[in-house]
């Protein structure tokens, strides 16, 4: 369903992605791991054009975009296929939890307000926050904010949800509540791409792990394959250093 071909991205002299190729099937729960600076977050962010690649093509659910020929329309079409959950939540500060979820329903999907709010309440209930509908983000805990972030992502009914280190800014006690919600979404068959080193999620939920190193895909396989039988010495080193084995 998702096809990434020859993706390249540099920030100045720093080549972050060096020709990444990746095919992801519908319903896969793909976790991207790798050392800091390997390009994990950049790879994720190119998928909804928050970072603009220098070369390569991305196809999500039939919407194809070529880095060298991107138009406003093709960007909009690509973005309509995905939603993102951010490390620092990035909830709309001036909107309540409910408004955070309904904003895209009203502005993009053009639903009537009443219908959008009904849908928004449903989604907040699904992430266990039906009592926080009218609360502004600054009054929510980190875990609650991230669950609103997930509800906001679900609202756009994406083909894939991109998670950028969704638990790494959270206090330990909040990690579980976010992981529980993510696990539930995974069980419902959502395709997910997750940049994370959260081993509980990787072991119990991920169906596939990709190890990115220096802008290349070094390892690609089931969690079992990648963690127990890495094929590259560099991968063994990283897994040992990061205490992931």
């Amino acid at each position: 369903m998702i096809s990434i071909r020859g993706l390249e991205k540099s920030f100045g002299d720093n080549r972050v992605l060096r020709g990444v190729n990746l095919e992801i099937a519908k319903g896969e729960i793909l976790t991207i791991i790798g050392p800091s600076g390997a390009g994990k977050t950049t790879l994720l962010r190119t998928l909804n054009w928050l970072d603009v690649p220098d070369a390569g093509t991305i196809t999500i659910d039939g919407a194809t975009i070529d880095a060298t020929r991107a138009t406003k329309r093709s960007i909009k079409q690509l973005r309509s296929k995905s939603a993102m959950v951010f490390q620092h939540y990035n909830l709309f500060n001036n909107k309540t939890a409910l408004e955070n979820v309904t904003e895209s329903l009203i502005l993009v999907r053009k639903l009537p307000r009443a219908e959008a709010e009904a849908r928004g309440r449903q989604l907040l209930e699904r992430v266990g926050l039906s009592d926080k509908c009218d609360t502004y983000p600054s009054f929510l805990s980190g875990g609650q904010q991230q669950r609103v972030g997930i509800a906001r992502a679900l609202a756009v009914e994406p083909k894939v949800i991109l998670f950028d280190e969704p638990t790494s800014a959270l206090d330990p006690e909040w990690v579980n509540e976010v992981l529980a919600v993510m696990t539930e979404i995974a069980r419902d068959g959502m395709t997910m791409i997750v940049v994370s080193h959260e081993m509980r999620f990787v072991r119990n939920v991920s169906t596939r792990v990709v190890l990115l190193d220096d802008g290349h895909i070094l390892e690609d396989g089931t969690p079992e394959q990648v963690f127990q039988h890495p094929r590259h010495e560099r991968a063994v080193q990283f897994l040992r250093q990061a205490d992931l084995q």
Partner: protein, 238 residues
């Protein structure tokens, strides 16, 4: 030599001076509104780095901030009629220079002046908003315009409000310069009233107190507005 300080005279000058308060307030209101729109437009041009216009806006802001408001008033007062006459001469049009009330020049100059300051306030307030807010908008497929209207600008306005309040208060006080271009505002009336009796100190005390009172009211309104726009922020325990 009469009294050192003539209280009853001072009180008697209040009605004529307060009578010109509407002139002052109208200038503040009109210039403030135009300045806000102008400041917003300039801020948008510079926020999005619109080619050519950005350069023009930079020169505009630099000039307006770099020259005294009084000089700007005089340049507008003497310059616009000359400009109109030049247009009349070259295009054969018949704009009447004498038909323009002086207050128009005052509003013109003060809006341009205040707009320059406000544009920097608004631009700064927009830059202060975390890029994550805009990214979140794009991640749920909002257009740039939708993102600005619903998310970025409301937050920028909240950030800008204290400094915009400053600009409005400065504007109120700068209106006291318009008597230089023959507009009869509170300050001009105070000078006229004072010159009849040569008791300037009393009238200036009156005019000072009125400016202060208006300023005080503006501060109250701003405080209420600020409390409203900051409702989504968690207060800090003080």
């Amino acid at each position: 030599m009469g009294k050192i300080f003539d209280l009853s005279f001072m009180i008697s000058t209040i009605p004529p001076i307060v009578g010109k308060l509407p002139v002052t307030l109208w200038i503040v209101f009109l210039s403030g509104a135009i300045a806000l729109v102008l400041g917003f437009l300039v801020a948008m041009v510079r926020y999005f780095h619109v080619r050519i216009l950005t350069q023009i806006c930079k020169v505009y802001v630099s000039f307006m901030r770099g020259t005294p408001a009084m000089v700007q008033l005089l340049v507008a007062y003497y310059g616009i009629p000359i400009f109109l006459r030049a247009i009349n001469a070259s295009l054969g049009t018949g704009f009447s220079v004498n038909g323009i009330p002086a207050v128009v020049f005052a509003v013109f100059a003060l809006s341009l002046n205040s707009g320059a300051f406000m544009s920097e306030t608004i631009r700064g307030a927009m830059l202060a908003i975390n890029a994550g807010q805009l990214e979140a908008c794009y991640s749920v497929n909002l257009s740039t315009w939708q993102a600005l209207r619903r998310i970025i600008l409301p937050q920028a306005f909240t950030n800008a409000l204290p400094a915009l309040g400053n600009s409005f208060i400065s504007l109120l006080k700068e209106t006291s310069l318009v008597f230089y271009i023959s507009v009869i505002d509170m300050m001009a009336q105070a000078k006229i009233t004072g010159s009849r009796s040569y008791r300037f100190f009393e009238v200036y005390i009156v005019v000072a107190l009125i400016y202060w009172a208006v300023c005080f009211l503006m501060e109250r309104v701003l405080a209420l507005l600020e409390r409203h726009v900051r409702r989504y922020e968690r207060g800090i325990v003080k």
